[in-house]
């Protein structure tokens, strides 16, 4: 059975061992897991979001469970990209598993500079440019809610990526842009693919303490199992207009969920919340996926990508 996935990078192609990726912010800076699992068995790994400046642990409760998911408000909590490249990247097995980074910044110039740093490192396979910035929809740069500006920005970013790192656009699920417009605009600008989704705003209230359970303004990013139906439909919508790969995410827990996303049109998938349910989550998931495809008689993911059909009586 062939779990591999091939996706374009500029004019060339990149092949991943399998479609399973970690998600930004849920796998630390990768190095933390190196002694815990064999990370080279994954399709690719993504480090926590980087901003142009040093972060620190957020000043409120940072996560809470909900009945069916996860609220997170980790804020700007990571080191800078430069420090990651200098201190951590040299210790990562970049030759054996593609290393991705997720970046956010208020200005285009800063994003361009960060992408150049990735290219210069020579060991970063790809970059996700994160639409969730600044947070909470306040002061959102116009390139996240206007297709023309978005296209324009990705033109600058793809020039910086220069076909040397994969360039993906990670959709801000809160953006006012219609998802299809977002995907198309990023692609026209030169993005090699679109990652969706990111967490959506969500809240929970502790009725005994009469207080929101996490987040410095009351909400956090809602992700995990409860968002799957919504996220999966977003993936379908994106895949319908996309001419380049869609990287699906949102509420994946089981191998069955992975297959749903592939059937919805995704090339690769990312898993965040569920992957924290146990340290050996990823190796187990990859085993389960192989077994499930075997049982379903599927020899290659290309067979089933986007195959889900609608069943309705003719009018």
């Amino acid at each position: 059975m062939d779990l591999s996935v091939t996706v374009p990078m500029g004019a060339r192609n990149v092949t991943f061992r399998n479609p399973i990726m970690t998600a930004a912010g849920t796998f630390g800076n990768i190095i933390e897991y190196m002694d815990v699992i064999d990370i080279t068995q994954l399709g690719a790994v993504v480090a926590n979001s980087f901003l142009p400046w040093q972060g620190e642990p957020n000043r409120c409760r940072r996560f809470a469970h909900t009945e069916h998911g996860y609220l997170s408000a980790f804020g700007i909590n990571n080191m800078t990209l430069d420090r990651f490249i200098a201190e951590i990247l040299p210790h990562l097995p970049a030759e054996e598993v593609p290393i991705f980074v997720d970046i956010k910044a208020p200005t285009r110039a800063q994003l361009v500079q960060m992408i150049r740093a990735c290219v210069a490192s020579g060991r970063i396979a790809g970059v996700e440019v994160n639409g969730n910035f600044p947070y909470a929809g306040r002061d959102e740069p116009s390139y996240w809610d206007n297709p023309a500006n978005n296209e324009d920005m990705f033109r600058a970013l793809s020039a910086a990526a220069d076909g040397k790192v994969v360039l993906w656009s990670k959709a801000a699920t809160s953006a006012k842009m219609v998802i299809e417009d977002f995907v198309s605009a990023s692609e026209r600008g030169g993005a090699d693919g679109t990652v969706l989704f990111n967490a959506i705003p969500g809240a929970r209230i502790d009725i005994h303490r009469r207080a929101f359970v996490c987040g410095s303004t009351g909400f956090g990013g809602y992700s995990g199992s409860g968002v799957k139906p919504f996220a999966l439909w977003r993936c379908v919508q994106a895949a319908q207009v996309a001419t380049r790969p869609v990287i699906g995410a949102g509420g994946i827990v089981t191998a069955e969920d992975v297959v749903e996303y592939i059937m919805a049109g995704a090339h690769l998938v990312q898993i965040g919340a569920a992957s924290m349910s146990r340290p050996d989550y990823f190796p187990r998931l990859i085993d389960d996926l192989r077994e499930l495809l075997e049982r379903l008689g599927i020899a290659s993911l290309d067979e089933i990508r986007g195959c889900a059909r609608v069943e309705t009586a003719p009018v």
Partner: protein
């Protein structure tokens, strides 16, 4: 010490209960010897489609077995005898708590630190004292106890009171953080420190931090309630 084990529940005992919470001792078999009494571990809640894990404190049972002390919501489905759990830890405490250590806590949080008695620590519960807690501590240090052998498992607001009372003291404090990955990656449990802007993971080097390093106001707002 890092470990990841499948363990089995052999008994479920109720420790305490209020309207919102149930505190349980889960008797377990299969915990590795690296899991020391008092250590914080993370375990996966059995529920299938939930990315749920919970923290627990390892306890030594009188019969030589081990237990996990933990808290469930009063509406949560309780684990069953015979059920298997996955439990893990990546904790290598920056400071050991053993013979000679004095742990200070309150009745409601006592269950989280009580197991350290098995490691030789003395445990002092505020509500059981004849005098005011600060007076008690002053007396003890006057009699020669060094602050670095004192471990305060108190609410961050109380700790701010402590600092006003003993501005120069350098005991350790319990950072009672929510945990998620239990590996040191996700930053759920990172404590804001004056000398390290990255913070440090309670699940890796905690739960005890030297008081002078910790930003107690931020701890107050990011800590889980001390119950």
């Amino acid at each position: 010490m890092r470990f990841l084990n499948e363990i089995r529940i052999s008994g479920v005992r109720s420790i305490r209960q209020d309207e919102q919470w149930r505190w349980l001792a889960l008797d377990v078999s299969g915990l590795p010897p690296e899991a020391r009494p008092g250590q914080t571990v993370v375990f996966q809640d059995g529920h299938h489609h939930s990315p749920f894990c919970r923290t627990a404190t390892v306890d030594a049972r009188p019969d030589g077995g081990a237990a996990l002390l933990t808290r469930f919501g009063s509406g949560d489905v309780l684990p069953c005898v015979g059920a298997d759990l996955t439990v893990w830890s990546n904790e290598t405490p920056a400071v050991p708590v053993g013979p000679g250590a004095l742990i200070v806590t309150t009745r409601s949080f006592h269950y989280r630190v009580a197991p350290y008695a098995a490691e030789g620590a003395e445990i002092l519960v505020e509500e059981d004292l004849d005098q005011n807690l600060w007076a008690e501590l002053r007396q003890r240090t006057d009699q020669g106890r060094a602050w670095p052998s004192v471990f305060l498992a108190l609410d961050p607001l109380r700790l701010q009171g402590f600092v006003r009372e003993f501005p120069a003291a350098d005991p350790f404090i319990f950072a009672n953080m929510d945990m998620s990955c239990g590996i040191g990656a996700c930053r759920s449990c990172h404590v804001n420190l004056w000398d390290n802007k990255d913070g440090e993971a309670s699940c890796r080097v905690g739960p005890w931090f030297a008081l002078p390093r910790v930003d107690l106001v931020r701890l107050q707002f990011s800590s889980a309630p001390f119950i």
